[in-house]
Symmetry: C2
Subunit: 322 residues, 2 copies
């Protein structure tokens, strides 16, 4: 993806976000806000959780995919993407809802449950070697065959779609001081920045990122996208490199990226499971880990927190019960 | 507990349930109803899930404990019970909310997380040898010391309290054909029977029970309480023997008890985790297992299903992620 010379204006972003809100009405679940008195005590703030683990396909990704599909060129009968995770299933499900075909490039070593999720929504899986080059080649080949491309996060339609989670969160809560979401490729968090701008709310936006995939943090420090960071984290949904468009938005509007360790992520995962009974995935727990690690930033604040998804390998967890 | 010569009349039961509804207002969470399109498809019915895993202390037990405490004799400053599980934590939490002391007899081999839950609500744990006799002796000794007894299920105040979950479920849904809940000691399911009667609803009530703790099923067949059934099931919340009062209600009003195997329970647990992202405990999954095992009973029906609780050992599950 090449750097853009011309970026949308603030007014164009606002229009994109508002159009997504209108387009996704009746297509996505308005997920509930949950609270936990125990977690409020543990975290030292008022934590208002936006439950995207209860979104269709178990993650916020369904919003961006649905918004991209809502404005396809006339006559489009099939879409394609590459994904080792939630975006593939989301695109397949959104395509199925419209009656069009979805082709998903996945690495040969993708988690079987994620492959099964794509197939459950009748998506066609195209396996490739587990390298970035093989993935891009396979994705390009699908586009040459005429399938319309819907990238996982570096796409304004996708970013505006993800922004609707934050718009709802702001509308469902009565005054937020801060909004906190994880950052991987940056679709959700850049959407949060544009949502706050679009509804003219006075809310600070912060991101949580694993230390083992800290490219967004490094990129903002350096003032340019760092694309060769080593990646090693349990938060498999956040291993992607920050997108071009996403980075541009974060540079302008994000307050900061808070780094958390895998141990902190796992502790936070267990706390949400125990106190909220919500089966979130580790990537999603980074936000809770960030509040625990930097309590002084959040003390006494009303914090809107996006729980991004709940697609853990439940068979693996079940084995622990036996 | 001795058999009663005189049972409350239907009108007395109705009054007890309605009083509990009034007394628990603002003391318990009105838990939400959740639905899952995927589970509806898998189960072949319209499944309306009452989410008591989101109740305070993570289980419906908080209702019964709170209702018992709402009508204590004047001057009562402490309560006691015996429990290896959710009732102990529920009573401790309900007592803490009223500012009175709670004493909980627990077997020495109780799961550490459950002991910790009682202590987190400032309950005093009294360990006993892991036998029924030792447990009853310890419980009797606490009563002699003047602590007011709140049994886990064989108590009308507790049963009426549990009934409020079913009253809410009926009010929150627009016409149910059936109501399905697990049976262990029988507090929740006898409450469901009395709730349906109290609100004069035309709803069939069914119970789900593990094959490895099938005393309610055996008792209803025999026409008398069978108290010496061998117990071996993963559903640790349902290992108790059906209570005297509970059995009396079930004999009069329950349509049937549906038995399910541990394998079916585990499969159902995983399905709820995967499709609903709700971290329910295996005891709670018996209801979903029952629909899968006896699909002809439920086909096309609107089924109100009480998810009873979500207190699994999250540390154990977390270990599976690492």
């Amino acid at each position: 993806m090449s750097e853009q010379a011309h970026w949308p204006t603030a007014a164009e972003h606002d229009a994109g976000v508002h159009a997504a809100v209108a387009q996704l009405r009746d297509r996505v679940h308005v997920t509930p806000i949950m609270r936990s008195a125990s977690l409020d005590r543990l975290l030292g703030c008022t934590a208002l959780f936006k439950c995207e683990q209860l979104q269709r396909t178990g993650a916020f990704k369904y919003r961006g995919a649905s918004n991209a599909l809502a404005s396809l060129p006339p006559g489009t009968t099939s879409v394609c993407t590459h994904s080792s995770g939630n975006h593939g299933a989301a695109l397949a499900a959104a395509a199925l809802a419209l009656g069009i075909d979805a082709h998903i490039v996945m690495p040969e070593n993708a988690v079987p449950t994620k492959v099964n999720a794509v197939r459950a929504y009748q998506g066609t899986v195209h396996f490739c070697a587990p390298t970035q080059q093989a993935r891009e080649q396979a994705f390009a080949a699908l586009q040459v065959q005429g399938h319309h491309a819907v990238p996982p996060y570096d796409d304004w339609r996708v970013i505006y779609g993800q922004a609707t989670a934050s718009v709802e969160l702001i509308e469902q809560t009565d005054g937020l001081d801060m909004l906190l979401a994880p950052v991987g490729g940056g679709g959700l968090i850049s959407g949060a920045c544009l949502a706050v701008q679009a509804v003219q709310a006075d809310i600070r936006v912060l991101a949580a990122e694993p230390e083992g995939a800290a490219d967004a943090h490094a990129s903002l420090l350096a003032g340019r996208r760092i694309v060769d960071q080593p990646v090693d984290t349990i938060a498999d949904g956040l291993r992607a490199t920050i997108g071009v468009r996403n980075f541009h938005v974060l540079q302008q509007q994000l307050e900061s990226v808070l780094l958390v360790s895998d141990d902190e992520i796992l502790q936070a995962t267990e706390r949400v499971w125990r106190h909220m009974k919500q089966l979130i995935e580790p990537s999603c727990a980074t936000v809770v880990a960030a509040i625990t690690r930097y309590p002084e930033l959040f003390a006494g604040q009303r914090v809107g927190i996006i729980l991004s998804g709940g697609n853990v390998d439940t068979s693996k967890l079940l084995a622990a019960l036996r």
